[in-house]
Each structure stands twice: as structure tokens, then as C-alpha cells.
Symmetry: C2
Subunit: 227 residues, 2 copies
């Protein structure tokens, strides 16, 4: 069985906030961590704590600076590849749930942010934990957005079944599940939007513990058929 | 809090199997349904129960017949749009976890399959339930696959936050979460692959109950920037 516990009661996150300590306190209010919990934290509060807020006036300029490449423009919609390699709307520059007059940029290095949060949360709890930093991305062929992982620490984001055998003994050739993205989406189900819930604990998922990163999820442009 | 409960102990599903009765029995072994549970069932067992198994020999012919359009070919990889409008590898034709010598096609009308299962499970349980039929799809720009919804019954697959206000009172313009896909991915975390677990109950998710379908998730080709 898997349990997903939203962390409630965290204060508004300000630049410079000790997000790890606040998450640990929030987890305490939700009954505390247990070993092997995965903590999913939304990008917006990581960006806020890291001071990645800028005046709204130059949103276009921020997008240009955050984008490595513009893939498509359609009306006000701009699909860009960020300098991390993520493909998303507006290169991740977003004004929702940030102070009026500001926009938030993605963390400069979300995997490093995840590693720092993990180290702090493991230190405070004494347990092995995983961390996912999530963001809300659209998809090419499907309407709506889902939360996906832009930062990972503590486990392998991809669960590779290739080479294992199915129920008939047939070798699986293609199955390589992006567990980190499914964790981010599952946590979104518990958090919702605009409710000031910025993190959730996912408990009971079998992951491959290790040194994985969200950078590993980025499809290399050379292998990409749709860029 | 959200709970995800895999349904264990179901028999191998044969063509003509009464999948609804088997899922109800499996749920009973897991403690039974409660009102507003969402039942996520993998496509493969729905296809098997509906007799969508064909001899492996003509896999290419099956793909040609299932595809409305071939989007990309790269080596043995073929990305196609199915007649339902889904964009996925091999138009959903797949040989994993089916009897040797066979391939499985997607259900002809996965939303209708979901509605039938829902009607049966609601009748057997006496509770309001939702149903998702899930399949494992790749993504354009991200490595690995995630489970997504190809059939939906009982609720709206998209949770539209557009027009609502964020924590600062700002109107949200873009946020329209594909809850059905996040439900499918969350269930995958509990089911894994090649373990004969073909369904899970997701409990505690706030959905908009209604007459939604997975067809609503398909981005109309005319609005699609990457087809």
C-alpha cells in the first residue's frame, strides 16, 4: 500500500527561508517521517526560498534568458527548452502563486536543490529519504498538465525493466518507467493548486535507492524525434 | 491523505473473463471498496477480457490497421496516432504480458470499456466509483514511460483551475491538471510491472464527478504544435 500525506500549515515561503527545517516541521505535524519516505516539494517554494523571484516587468526577457532554445510559439504560448534541457511553457518562468509584481524562475540547478534538501532532511530525521522537486508541465499530444520531476535526490528516477521477463517469460524490451514523474504526479493529487500546500510525503513506493538525478530524465536532443 | 491499494490474487485474465466480477472479488480481498474509490485497471487485462488478442505474426499489419497516422519511425520504433487519437509507440499494439505468439491491441473503445466496468462495479458494491483504464506511454522530451489514462468513467479527467485565483488573488490562466493521468501514474507506482498485479484502488482523491472521458484528454490535432 502507498500513502500520500500533504504537508499542511507551512508558512508562506520567503527568499532565504530555511525550507528544509520548515518541511521537517511540517512533516512532524503530519506524524513525522519514516525511513524511505519520498518528499515531493513543488518548484515554486524552492525557487522562492532560493530567491529566484524577479520583477514581472521583464517577463519576456527572463524567458529569453532562461531558454536555451524556443521550440514553438503560438499566440501567447511559448514552448521552450530550458538551460537544464526541460521542455516546458515559458521556459519555466511563471507568475502564479508568487508575490504580485514578481515572476519566479526555475531553480538554477534543481538536482542540487534536491540534494541539499535531502541532506538536511536526512540529518534532521535520521532516516534515509528521497526528494523530488516537482513542476507542472504540459504535454505534446495530451491536454492538461501533470506534475513531473525537475529535481531528484536519493533514488534512480527511471525504473528500468528492460531485460527482465514478463509473466510469460518474454524479455521486456522497452519498459523503463519514469518513477520520479509518477511520484510528482501522485503528490499533486494530494496537494491540489492554490491551497498553500507545497509538499507531500509519498510512503511505500519501491524505488531503486541511488544517486539518480532529474537530468537523467531529459531525452538527449539527438535522440529526440519531436524537437 | 491518499491511499493506493494494489489488487492482488486475480487469476490470469482470459478472453471472455468477467473482469468486473474478478476486480470486485480482488477488491474484497483488499478490504473492499468504499464510496468514491477510483479503480485503475491496466489496458492489457481489459484487452484480454475483450478478446483483443491476435497472432503475433502480423504485428506490422496490426499496427497499420490500428494507426490513423504514423508520426515518426526510428529504427524499430514507430510512433503512431491511434484511431482513438492517442499518440503512442506501435499504435498500442504490444506483446508484453500476453500469451506467447500473440499481440494485444488496445480496446476498441476504452471509454466504453471503462463505463461498463464502472456500471458493474457500482452495481456490485452499491457505491459511487470511478474507473480509469491505464496504459504505459512514452513522452516526447522525457525518457522513460508513465502510465496514463486511455479510458475514464465517472469523473472529469481534467481538473480545470483556470479562472480560479492563486494564493495572491491572481487569476490562474493556464492550470488545467490532467487528474486522470496522474491517477494512472500513481496506480502504476503500486502495481509495478510483470507482477501479475493489474489493478489498484486509489482512495481519497478529490475529483469532479461527472461524465468525463479519456477522449477529452486527446489534444485536437489542429491545436497540436508537435504532430
Amino acid at each position: 500500500m502507498i500513502g500520500i500525506f500533504p504537508l499542511r500549515g507551512l508558512p508562506e515561503i520567503e527568499p532565504g527561508a530555511d525550507l528544509g527545517a520548515l518541511l521537517h516541521a511540517g512533516a512532524g505535524a503530519a506524524g513525522g517521517f519514516v525511513p524511505d519516505d519520498i518528499v515531493v516539494v513543488t518548484q515554486k517554494v524552492v525557487s522562492k526560498a532560493e530567491g529566484r523571484l524577479y520583477p514581472d516587468g521583464g517577463k519576456e526577457a527572463h524567458i529569453e534568458r532562461e531558454a536555451r532554445r524556443i521550440l514553438r510559439r503560438s499566440g501567447t504560448l511559448l514552448i521552450a527548452e530550458t538551460h537544464h534541457g526541460f521542455v516546458c511553457a515559458n521556459a519555466g518562468v511563471d507568475s502564479s502563486n508568487v508575490p504580485l509584481g514578481s515572476v519566479a524562475l526555475l531553480p538554477e540547478d534543481p538536482d542540487a536543490s534536491a540534494r541539499r534538501l535531502r541532506a538536511q532532511l536526512e540529518h534532521l530525521s535520521g532516516f534515509r529519504l528521497g526528494v523530488v522537486i516537482s513542476d507542472t508541465f504540459g504535454r505534446a499530444w495530451r491536454l492538461g498538465q501533470t506534475d513531473v520531476a525537475i529535481g531528484v535526490a536519493g533514488f534512480e528516477p527511471l525504473t528500468d525493466h528492460r531485460g527482465s521477463r514478463d509473466s510469460e517469460g518474454r524479455v521486456l524490451h522497452a519498459t523503463n518507467i519514469c518513477t520520479a514523474d509518477e511520484l510528482a504526479g501522485a503528490a499533486e493529487l494530494a496537494m491540489g493548486k492554490s491551497t498553500r500546500v507545497c509538499a507531500a510525503i509519498v510512503r511505500g513506493v519501491e524505488v531503486a535507492w541511488g544517486r539518480g538525478t532529474a537530468a537523467q530524465i531529459v531525452r538527449p536532443p539527438g535522440e529526440d524525434l519531436f524537437r
